[in-house]
């Protein structure tokens, strides 16, 4: 028998195998190669987003207000942990063996946890080969003690991280704070990843996009152990991360700190604005807190609940969000509107007739200037009546409706009754009532001036935020216009946002301002003025005090509480450098007693760089005014 033909069986085995492999290779490498290329990318390449450090923030004088401080995380890779001596490790980091084991369990269950939108469940993507922070946010001192011994504990290493630091410990309500992003924020904005920090309040929140900078992207080749092997194709596709060049605030941090010191043991606000630019020089909300208390998880977890529960609401940004009746500080605006409307001339006099409203003892005001100087209540009742009821309609009801809308429009042009476009979140609008407002509350045709006359002296339905009050002071200083108050003076070497370079003109012409401003000067400098405590040697200050009656609704009944003390001012009278509003709650005294001297101290500090009125300063610092509820 000849078996030579069997060689063909074997040859066909070889050829068929070669063909099969050729076809399969063609399919894998030519037809289906994209699938495998994606898979190769998934396993061997990594796109790393490089997040630049957050912007550093300077005040107007170049002082670093917010900086980044280096911290360390103690990282753990379970896969690399061999012969792990929990007792010795615990001793090194100050934990018991049980705590160490518990922390490892916690990391395994919690750190990789994420919400899977497909399964609608929380899943953990914890992996043994990935690094996780075992201890977070260690200081240089803490890590210096641990690091030298880490060689004995395989799988542990230190990693540098950075956190915010506020060297001046003040301006908390302006600067805000950072906190870890929520899942919703991650879903909304792809910039964020778990454990990223985001601005939660203040300008950190408002300027989040500018502060966080631009991310860079690095493509790297990774090994099976997730180590970086090198850059992908020599970094051809990489982009660099861009940190903000720095953000300069109009804030004067020394003035801010001084203001906070003056407001210690008091409740209230100070807002100071540079009238010529609209830059906010200081914005004190008292009581306040050290912004460093809300840096990092540990701190936030410890201090945030305390700050929230504090009855004095230190987290509440009063200058922006508290709406107060302005009291007599409102009178200068009323005078200006009346003159612009032509219902009153600069030399118009009204008798101090105490039949409608009470007043203190002073001569009858014979002009607008005197009325402001004496803060004469009956005068402003009469003046405001002329604005509201101009006699354009026979019906005084209808007349009031038209009049109040004209009045409200004037007020809006002063930035009142609407939110200022200041670069911070948490602003409120205050309240300037108009016809719609009264129609709603009292019924159409059911009211006229006599029903609402308390608005004449800044009481009743009128409400302003302290920021708005300071802006009014700035308008007085500028004699009729203002830039929207703002914090940021320059971003990355440029100017402020465009909206802050637009002059807002009020509806009152500049020519009507001098008599009112003169009245404000007399308030401070003439005998019989209400704000003599605001005098500063060598500086002509124009101001207006206010004493705001304070009612509180307790069990359905309005209870009279101690008065609030208010003062608005600007200085010097000519070429003003600072406009200010001070509001001190529940003092019981008038505006001249507490708010005026506080304002004068701030002005003195800002204009002269130092405060020589030592006694005045001492009196304020020692005062414990607020009734701590």
């Amino acid at each position: 028998m000849n078996f030579d033909t069997r060689k063909y069986v074997i040859i066909s085995f070889f050829v068929i195998t070669g063909l099969m492999y050729g076809i399969k290779l063609f399919y894998m490498q030519v037809v289906d190669t994209e699938t495998w290329k994606l898979e190769a990318q998934r396993i061997a390449e990594r796109r790393i987003e490089v997040t630049p450090p957050r912007a550093v923030v300077f005040d107007r004088n170049g002082n670093k207000v917010i900086e980044n401080k280096t911290y360390y995380n103690l990282m753990m890779i379970e896969e690399e942990m061999v012969d792990f001596d929990t007792v010795a490790f615990g001793k090194l980091i100050g934990m018991t063996k049980e705590e160490v084991l518990a922390r490892i369990e916690e990391i395994k269950e919690g750190e990789g946890k994420y919400f899977n939108p497909h399964t609608k469940e929380y899943q953990t993507n914890y992996q043994r080969i990935r690094p996780y922070p075992f201890l977070k946010e260690l200081t240089a001192d803490e890590i210096a003690r641990i690091a030298p011994q880490l060689d004995n504990f395989k799988g542990f290493y230190e990693e540098v991280t950075s956190m915010r630091n506020y060297p001046y410990r003040s301006g908390a309500n302006i600067l805000g704070y950072l906190a870890e992003v929520t899942q919703e924020e991650i879903d909304r904005d792809r910039f964020y990843k778990p454990a990223y920090k985001i601005g939660r309040a203040g300008i950190e929140r408002f300027y989040e996009k500018e502060f966080r900078g631009k991310k860079g992207v690095k493509y790297i080749v990774t090994s099976a152990r997730q180590n970086t092997v090198g850059s992908f194709e020599d970094g051809r596709y990489d982009t660099t991360a861009i940190q903000s060049q720095g953000i300069v605030l109009g804030l004067d941090i020394d003035l801010q700190a001084y203001g906070e010191k003056l407001m210690q043991n008091k409740k209230g606000c100070i807002v100071a604005i540079e009238p010529a630019t609209g830059e906010i020089l200081a914005m004190v909300s008292a009581p306040t807190y050290d912004p460093n208390l809300l840096v990092g998880r540990k701190n936030i977890n410890e201090h945030y609940p305390k700050l929230v529960e504090d009855g004095n609401k230190p987290l509440f940004p009063r200058p922006l969000a508290s709406e107060y009746m302005p009291g007599s500080t409102f009178k200068p605006i009323q005078a200006l509107i009346a003159m612009q409307e032509g219902v009153v001339q600069a030399n118009t006099g009204f008798p101090c007739n105490k039949s409608v409203v009470g007043c203190h003892n002073h001569p009858h005001p014979g002009s607008v200037t005197q009325a402001v100087q004496y803060s004469c209540n009956p005068y402003f009742y009469a003046l405001t009546r002329r604005i509201i009821q101009q006699g354009k309609h026979k019906s005084s009801f209808k007349d009031s409706e038209v009049g109040i809308d004209i009045w409200a429009e004037y007020m809006h042009s002063f930035g009142l009754g609407k939110k200022l476009k200041t670069d911070i979140t948490g602003l409120r609008a205050g309240n300037i009532p108009d016809s719609k407002y009264y129609d709603h509350w009292r019924g159409k045709g059911q009211w006229k001036f006599s029903a609402i006359q308390s608005i004449s002296i800044g009481q009743g339905e009128v409400q302003l935020t302290p920021l708005q009050m300071a802006n009014v002071a700035a308008i007085m200083a500028n004699r009729g216009w203002f830039y929207t108050p703002h914090f940021v003076k320059s971003i990355d070497g440029g100017g402020p946002r465009e909206e802050y370079t637009v002059k807002n003109r009020t509806m009152v012409d500049s020519k009507h301002f001098p008599p009112v401003v003169e009245g404000m000067r007399r308030c401070v400098h003439e005998p019989g003025g209400t704000a003599s405590r605001a005098r500063i040697p060598g500086v002509i200050t124009c101001g207006k005090t206010g004493t705001v009656e304070n009612f509180k609704l307790v069990n359905g009944r309005l209870i009279k509480k101690p008065n609030h003390s208010v003062f608005i001012a600007f200085a010097p009278m000519d070429n003003p450098k600072i406009a200010i509003a001070v509001f001190v709650e529940n003092t019981g005294g008038g505006g001249g007693t507490w708010a005026a001297p506080i304002a004068s101290l701030v002005i003195e500090k800002y204009l002269n760089g130092e405060v020589k009125s030592v006694e005045k300063e001492k009196r304020i610092l020692d005062a414990k005014l607020s009734l701590w509820e």
Partner: protein, 472 residues
């Protein structure tokens, strides 16, 4: 007739050329894969590329040695050579296990794998034995002796254990097939034991080897069919082995086969049809049951590999994605190959199959095809497949031109061993064959494999060059 007047007179330069080409490509790939910037020279002996060059040097020296010895010597000393390789296989069992297997015999700094050399010893003795008898003389004894020559080293290799080399030894069955060594005497003895049956020859016995491989292929299907247990609504909570499906299918097929045969055969052959049907049924059941049982008793990781290859793998709950777990090696190697694309990523540009990233384990040895395919793309990989196929066909050409049966049997052994290595190695890199750790001949890093294949090929070249001396 011209006697060979020089050593190189009848030298097969084509086979030698392919041999050198594969080695050069192999070294270049090892250099790319294991490149260490601290030792950039390709001759650095601290690196794998330097060592591989050293291995090639030793191999060429051994090859020259083999070539200088008269081919008759190998024939005469085939039993001692065989016994020597067997003794190495026994000694190696008493060494310290590396990675759980006793495969390495330490010789100073370098170890050798006796399993690689046992192939040569077996090939020589098989050639010697099979050339010693005429085809017509073959009987049950010749089959059993031939099988024993193959089975003894296989058994010893199984003890190491080294599944890859074990599988490669089945290559010799094809050699037996080519030489017409039939299993008929054994099959007949079994079949004719049935009373009233008297066959002179059976198709099964004659073509036993190819049938065996076809059957193995079909058995794979058995595994796929029976891997899922049967759940019956009538017996809630109870699981029945999935093998029953196979059993029932075989039973039905046998009855159908019997009925068909009875209608075709003459009436007096009805009894024969019954015997055939019964035989087919019982052997099928026995075979499939054995495979099923054998599969169940495999170590878990090998079971998983086969399940993955068959596409019936189901990961245990909570173990995560398949490709990152049990199927890691296979999916990574395939990713490297597939991502190479048409023209490849370029020399030393691989980032999946390289020791830099370690995504493909053993990418300088068992998985060396994947970096080659990743860097050279389809162009390179099809070239390599063609080159190996060409090598195999060249060895067959050489085998068929031999005058002596001894030479031919040896040449076929070389061809089949090379084929097994080529088919399994590249097959597992492209997902066509389950993972079996054997090197790509002349290409993979490794001294033993390089030396063994070199000696194997040089011996073939030597036999071939002296083919005209033999008058057979």
């Amino acid at each position: 007739m011209r006697k060979n007047d020089s050593i190189t007179g009848n030298f097969d330069w084509i086979l030698f050329g392919i041999y050198i080409l594969l080695i050069v490509f192999g070294i270049s790939t090892i250099y790319s894969v294991t490149y260490n910037p601290e030792h950039p020279s390709i001759f650095s002996f601290s690196e794998m590329y330097g060592r591989q060059i050293f291995f090639v040097g030793v191999s060429l020296f051994l090859g020259l040695l083999v070539f200088l010895i008269d081919s008759d010597i190998y024939r005469k000393f085939s039993i001692p050579i065989y016994l020597f390789t067997l003794s190495l296989l026994i000694i190696v069992l008493f060494t310290k296990p590396i990675n759980g297997a006793h495969s390495w015999l330490g010789l100073g700094a370098f170890g050798i794998q006796p399993g690689e050399f046992a192939k040569i010893g077996t090939a020589i003795l098989l050639a010697n034995y099979m050339s010693s008898f005429n085809v017509k003389q073959q009987n049950g004894q010749t089959v059993i002796v031939s099988l024993a020559i193959i089975a003894i080293p296989m058994l010893l290799i199984l003890l190491q254990p080294d599944a890859g080399t074990f599988v490669v030894f089945t290559a010799f069955f094809f050699v037996m097939y080519r030489e017409g060594l039939t299993f008929d005497p054994i099959v007949l003895r079994i079949v004719n034991a049935i009373p009233g049956v008297r066959f002179k020859s059976t198709w099964l016995g004659t073509h036993f080897i190819p049938i065996l491989f076809v059957v193995v292929f079909l058995l794979v299907i058995t595994l796929i069919i029976s891997h899922k247990p049967i759940l019956l609504d009538a017996y809630p909570g109870e699981e029945f082995s999935g093998y029953w499906r196979m059993f029932i299918a075989l039973f039905v097929t046998s009855i159908l086969g019997y009925l068909i045969m009875r209608s075709i055969f003459a009436k007096r052959d009805a009894r024969r049809a019954l015997v055939i049907a019964l035989m087919a049924f019982s052997t099928s059941v026995a075979l499939t049951a054995t495979v099923q049982f054998g599969f169940e008793s495999l170590p878990p990781h090998q079971k998983t590999r086969i399940e993955l290859w068959l596409g019936i793998y189901e990961p245990e709950e909570g173990t995560g994605k398949v490709e990152d777990g049990a199927d890691y090696n296979r999916s990574r190697a395939m990713t490297a190959v597939g991502s190479g694309g048409f023209s490849g990523k370029g020399y030393r540009e691989a980032n999946v199959a390289t020791t830099k990233t370690e995504h493909v384990p053993e990418c300088e040895t068992d998985f060396i095809f994947s970096p080659w395919a990743e860097e050279r793309g389809f162009v390179g990989s099809i070239f390599l497949v063609i080159l190996y196929t060409f090598l195999l066909l060249r060895v067959i050409t050489i085998a068929e031109r031999q005058r002596s049966k001894y030479n031919r049997v040896y040449a076929y052994s070389v061809a089949m061993i090379l084929f097994y290595h080529f088919a399994i190695n590249i097959g597992m890199n492209i997902g066509l064959v389950p993972i079996i750790g054997i090197p790509l001949p002349l290409f993979s890093y490794g001294g033993s494999s390089m030396m063994a294949f070199s000696v194997m090929i040089f011996l073939l070249l030597k036999l071939d060059s002296q083919r005209k001396d033999v008058l057979n």
